[in-house]
């Protein structure tokens, strides 16, 4: 069967529309049995087309793929649809998530050192929500588990990739002598009597 560009575009659009999760170029190339470069051209066209549109949704680049999503500014209206209970995050969960997102791979001890509180429960609930991934074990005594964020985390927050995270504020005002005096040593909280 010979497929015109118009046909291909239509199929790509349908795939992206029907897929449950964002589709990557690689995945689209496999589905279409076409070179990745051809697929990229089509996707670029679609991106442009929806960027200028007055449509209620647009083609978003998320989690390394593409997905149609509603515009953020329509949120006040769409909330009225009262969909399945959305994620609700406690401050504790958001803090742990932020630390993991920015410092991955990171161990539980490191998270707890930074937060100053036990974080096992929070990590567990983030794992259960599929927002974290276990990235293996750290090569230090005790071989603790290392955590990172998952693809679902990117999807949930609408991020293209981890570079897409808002830039973390630097505390550049830090006195250089204090900064030097303070190597960050996670996991050694009992040091206060040193």
């Amino acid at each position: 069967m010979f497929l015109t560009m118009a046909d291909l575009k239509q199929i790509v659009e349908a795939y992206i529309f029907a897929a449950e999760t964002p589709l990557s170029l690689d995945r689209l190339a496999i589905l279409l049995e076409k070179p990745r470069g051809d697929v990229r051209v089509i996707v670029e066209q679609l991106l442009q087309q929806y960027a200028q549109g007055e449509s209620g949704f647009y083609l978003a680049e998320v989690a390394g793929g593409y997905q149609f999503r509603t515009d953020a500014e329509l949120a006040p209206w769409l909330r009225k649809l009262n969909k399945e209970r959305p994620f609700r995050f406690s401050q504790a969960a958001l803090e742990a998530l932020a630390i993991i997102a920015y410092r991955q791979p990171v161990t539980r001890a490191e998270i707890e050192y930074l937060r100053g509180v036990d974080s096992g429960g929070v990590i567990k609930s983030l794992l259960e929500k599929n927002l974290l991934r276990i990235l293996g074990k750290k090569d230090i005594p005790g071989r603790p588990l290392m955590y990172g964020t998952s693809r679902q985390f990117l999807e949930l927050f609408g991020l293209k990739d981890l570079q897409d995270l808002p830039t973390l504020k630097e505390f550049s005002a830090l006195d250089s002598d204090i900064a030097e005096a303070l190597p960050l040593e996670p996991g050694q909280e009992g040091e206060t009597n040193a």
Binding site: L97, I134, L182
Partner: protein, 255 residues
Amino acid sequence: MSLVVQLENFAGPLDLLLHLIKTNEMDIYDIQMVKITEQYLSVIEQMKQLDLDVAGEFLLMAATLIHIKSRMLLPVSEELEEEEEEDPRAELVRRLLEYQRYKEAAESLAEMPLLDRDIFSSQFVPQEILNDSDDEVTVGVYQLADAFHRLLKKVPVEIFHEVVREQLSVAEHVQLVLQRLTEKEGRVLFREIFSANPTRDELIVTFLATLELVKMRMVKVEQANEFGELWLSLAVPMDEQDTVIGLSEDVFDYG
């Protein structure tokens, strides 16, 4: 300044400390330890019923603050000998700054539009891809471990590991603190009641034990002047201590 602060409004001791520093309009690089420690202690004192799980970290921080405060009160000359000793507050400052950074990052995460709350993807699932995939779940290492864990809980397991949990008891530490006081003839520096290299749990439990003793009026806390060291002293004659020695754990509310 009177503080009406609820511990549960804070994600942890660092959060509470940041709050106190902000309300006092203090420079984070130049924390006034005496004032902050006093306010911090008065906040945790307001918590009549300390849930040990929640409060453990808050108490640990209290012990840390008191420790830093006392280190700052030591005569400077003594310190200078071992080359330029760093500011006792340095580690705390560093941790506060790091914590503040992630607290802000958490706040900005909270403001981002969320899928299925603010933003939606298409909910239409074509007939063609419905079929048998309904009960499928997305799986990672965690789900794998979780699945095995659940199975083991359902099935009678032949081998049980014996669990030796190191339980630090407050009652035991009450006695340790008393013992230390007795050894030192009834009077000891607050920072000396901790063992040489205390673990985090030890620090908390020792601190709790001291609070208990103060509450039971067994021990007095004294400070010669505003900037002086904290001293603990026995408030009862040594031969009356027996009444405490026999106390069992459940006398204390820490479960």
